[in-house]
């Protein structure tokens, strides 16, 4: 199936990663952050000082004790970092020099059915890889999803190129697809970037429905794809994963060990040599950013500039992210900045003369470029929101906490990331993503 997205935009930002793998010295600290999993309340199993192998449980979900979170490396639990109200922020593991894996039973895909896959994935700590829409939380293993979506490309700014990452990795990916598609009685959708020549592992995938998605960001957002291919109505559940997760699951069943290695891209204009790295899930970014950054105040982001999480220079990459972005911190004032021609100021509107140079890439920073205001300009969100939902009306419904209205306006079909471009382009600087998050949380709370 072909889907064309017309509304949206690609932000022209500097710092895309070169298609080269860089070597890194091993990091000694790894973290599993319960805050990566939306609405999760962790219940600790290990204590500081305990020794764990890779694949051994660290904590589980208090609301569903089947869902376990395991250590990506072997080593000693060195710290459990807590925030306000003793909320657990991260569990740190000091890694051994050589990773020791907990042994799981190897399985061949021909003789396993859904219940075994679910059980093994839960025990091995791979279950959190599967998320669901609506709400973007970890999937509930007892649910029966109507379909499974895999977005094979990431259209967000400076995103890693999956066609490069998956160059060659054919059999493992196909094996993962075969396993994952057993989880749902419905269709498994593999969505490819119609604008590019996708990797062979994607093009030649079998047993799934391949869809071509054309158009600018947010065409890679799984929520947008679901909306155009198999929209969610109230009560429906759709599961989704990213392609590297598929490979991780395949490796788990083939080798019988929780090998949480993945490929990430280090991007952004503050990085001297933006490259790709092979890392293990939860690694400290210190070893890859050290000696690779330009001078000046910087913002470190796990994820992309639109939806990522702010981390410290020695912070840890988040569970669902495949990208680290480093951009300049925009903590400067600008004299009459709103009046100058602005040849060097990127804007999706044509209110600055930067529209004269269309192909230029910009060194964008974290300045807000103005203060928050009431909504004045209209029609702006609609240009960057390729879902048949009225974005501003939905935001307003959330602000007045009218659940019935939110449902009517289609809140089940959206997630915060779909509003990222709206938030970026907003003249009134309204924090749209956090408003939508609030609305989704409110519904989740009322429904459970």
């Amino acid at each position: 199936m072909d889907v064309r997205i017309y509304k949206g935009a690609n932000i022209k930002i500097k710092g895309v990663a070169d298609r080269v793998y860089a070597n890194i010295s091993k990091s000694s600290y790894y973290a599993v952050k319960p805050t990566d999993f939306h609405l999760l309340i962790p219940k600790m199993v290990v204590k500081v000082g305990d020794y764990v192998k890779a694949g051994e449980i660290l904590f589980f979900d208090k609301n569903n004790d089947q869902i376990k979170f395991t250590s990506p490396v072997s080593g000693v639990v060195s710290d459990i970092v807590r925030g306000p109200k003793r909320k657990i922020l991260k569990v740190l593991v000091k890694s051994d020099d050589e990773i020791v894996y907990k042994q799981f039973e190897k399985k061949s895909i021909t003789d396993i059915d859904r219940s075994i896959i679910v059980k093994d994935m839960l025990n091995g700590g791979l279950w959190p890889l599967i998320r669901q829409r609506p709400f973007a939380t970890i999937a509930n293993p007892s649910d029966k999803p109507k379909s499974i979506f895999i977005s094979a490309f990431d259209s967000s700014p400076l995103a890693p190129d999956n066609d490069f990452i998956f160059h060659g990795d054919k059999e493992l990916f196909q094996m993962g697809l075969d396993i994952v598609s057993k989880l749902s009685e419905g269709t498994t959708h593999l969505n490819l970037d119609g604008n590019s020549n996708s990797a062979q592992s994607f093009r030649n995938a079998s047993g799934v429905q391949i869809n071509n998605i054309y158009g600018p960001h947010p065409s890679g957002n799984v929520g947008v794809q679901i909306h155009h291919i198999d929209p969610i109505n109230k009560g429906d559940i759709v599961w989704y994963l990213s392609p590297q997760d598929i490979v991780m699951i395949a490796r788990f069943f083939r080798d019988g060990k929780y090998d949480a290695s993945k490929i990430i891209a280090l991007t952004g204009s503050k990085v001297k040599k933006p490259r790709y790295y092979r890392i293990v899930q939860g690694m400290s970014i210190k070893s890859i950013v050290d000696n690779n950054l330009y001078e000046g105040d910087k913002r470190f982001i796990s994820g992309n500039v639109l939806t990522g999480t702010k981390i410290n220079e020695d912070g840890y990459i988040s569970y669902y992210d495949f990208q680290i972005t480093v951009i300049p911190e925009g903590n400067y004032s600008e004299f009459f900045g709103w009046l100058l021609p602005g040849l060097n100021k990127f804007s999706l509107s044509r209110t600055f003369f930067s529209w004269l140079s269309r192909k230029k890439e910009y060194d964008l920073d974290s300045n807000t470029h103005g203060e928050e205001r009431a909504y004045v300009v209209t029609g702006q969100y609609e240009s960057y929101f390729p879902i048949d939902v009225f974005p501003v009306q939905l935001v307003k419904a959330v602000l007045i906490e009218d659940i019935e209205l939110m449902e009517k306006l289609g809140i089940y079909e959206v997630d915060t990331e779909d509003f990222a471009l709206c938030e970026y382009s907003c003249t009134s600087k309204v924090p749209v993503q956090s408003i939508i998050r609030k609305g989704l949380d409110l519904i989740k709370k009322e429904c459970s």
């Binding site: 109505n233 004032s333 709103w338 044509r350 974290s366 300009v377 209209t378 009306q393 956090s434």
Partner: protein, 408 residues
């Protein structure tokens, strides 16, 4: 810049929590952010934000208004000077283009100063009293109000209408972004109904017209209003209608260039089109509203052309000419497109614009008491806009419900 920054930093403590002047903090903040785009960084959500903000948006609208303003200044001088000399050709040798402009400049400038000083004072007072930031909305309203006025409007009257517009039109609803009616049109409507003698007739549109005898100081619409319910064979009527033919003073050409009497900013189609281009190109103004209102007006005028009652010569004025006179285009480009008071959904904007256009021409032709139908039409549609949006959103909701039913 550094010095300016240092001065601001040194006086800032007085306005912050615990300082003597803390109650005036919104005023200080407005001043500081006027000079400097603040050093705020993103705290949640997207890590980067677009360069555009409300100040930039408002500045673009003001830039789009400048052609109308400058032409209005020139036309003020031109109209005055051309009436002074009985010989229609003679004045050209006495006064240059620059003389016209300079004369108009000194007539129009006080209106703009009064509008901004009074309006911003009210805005600051509300901001201080309600402890919120000063919003940029008035930057545009303050320019629009003088442009919709006749040049001889008394300054106290202007001040009063500005206060009315800002307080009743905007602040009682909660300030910029919350208002139901377009504040600039509210000001004009106020002065139109409160002081009709200063806003209509043939003595207000040209400077000093009440002191000069035997001049044509009537607006095109005022002239046309005399042509309804008439005997078309009457020679005086024929004479009046001929003012709209190709060699009359209200000819299509003159209306297009703008050398006719009228409110300061409304007369020149060229100047308005330049403004419209700036608004549409930068994405600040809604082309949906502009285009649909244009076609709304055009179709209504065509219908009148076809119906063409014999005793109503107003109806038989060619459709395109009909749109070029009065403030139809000025209202279409700068008033109807006000995003706050217009419809907010894309479909809604098209319906809203179309009805604005239809009503403008309808009111103008059928109610000679309000020769300026555009003002009343847009204000009425401002009130109706939420209703239009409601039905557009309802349609979307129904579509979603239908999808569930198909699935079941």
């Amino acid at each position: 810049m550094k010095i300016m920054q240092n001065i601001l930093n040194s006086i800032k403590p007085h306005f912050e929590e615990g300082g003597k002047l803390h109650t005036l903090y919104p005023a200080y903040d407005a001043f500081e952010t006027f000079l400097f785009v603040p050093n705020h960084t993103t705290q949640s959500g997207t890590h980067i934000k677009d360069s555009v903000d409300l100040k930039r948006t408002m500045v673009i609208v003001i830039i789009a208004l400048l052609p109308c303003l400058f032409f209005g200044m020139w036309n003020t001088g031109y109209q005055y000077h051309s009436q002074l000399t009985s010989d229609m050709e003679g004045y050209q040798s006495i006064y240059s283009i620059f003389d016209h402009f300079l004369f108009g400049f000194w007539k129009v400038l006080p209106l703009i100063i009064v509008s901004y000083v009074v309006g911003l004072s009210v805005e600051f007072a509300f901001a201080v009293q309600r402890k919120h930031q000063v919003n940029e909305g008035y930057l545009v309203t303050g320019m629009l109000i003088p442009l919709t006025m006749p040049v001889d409007v008394p300054l106290w009257m202007l001040a009063l209408s500005v206060i009315f517009a800002v307080v009743i039109g905007k602040e009682v609803f909660g300030g910029t972004g919350m208002n139901i009616l377009n504040p600039a049109l509210t000001a004009r409507a106020f002065i139109f109904f409160a002081y009709p003698t200063k806003m209509s007739g043939d003595k207000v549109w040209v400077h000093g017209a009440d002191k000069i005898d035997a001049i044509t100081g009537e607006t095109a619409l005022g002239q046309l209003a005399t042509l309804t319910n008439v005997d078309p064979s009457n020679s005086e009527i024929i004479n009046n209608y001929s003012l709209f033919s190709s060699d009359g003073i209200y000819s299509l050409y003159n209306s297009f260039i703008g050398t006719i009497p009228g409110s300061i900013g409304e007369t020149s189609v060229i100047a308005i089109l330049i403004g419209a281009f700036i608004l549409v190109f930068t994405g600040v103004g809604s082309f949906r509203i502009m285009v649909s209102m244009f076609f709304g007006g055009l179709s209504m005028a065509y219908i009148f052309n076809i119906v063409g009652l014999e005793n109503n010569l107003f109806m038989s004025l060619p459709a395109i000419h009909q749109l070029f006179i009065g403030s139809f285009l000025f209202g279409m480009v700068f008033m109807a497109t006000d995003p706050v008071s217009a419809a907010q959904t894309n479909t809604g904007k098209i319906i809203y614009g179309f009805l604005c256009g239809v009503l403008s021409i309808l009111i103008r032709v059928f109610n000679p008491a309000y020769p300026e139908g555009v003002m009343v039409a847009i204000l009425f549609m401002n009130v109706m806009a939420p209703l239009i949006d409601h039905y557009v959103v309802e349609a979307n909701i129904k579509k979603r419900l239908k999808r569930i039913k198909i699935n079941e």
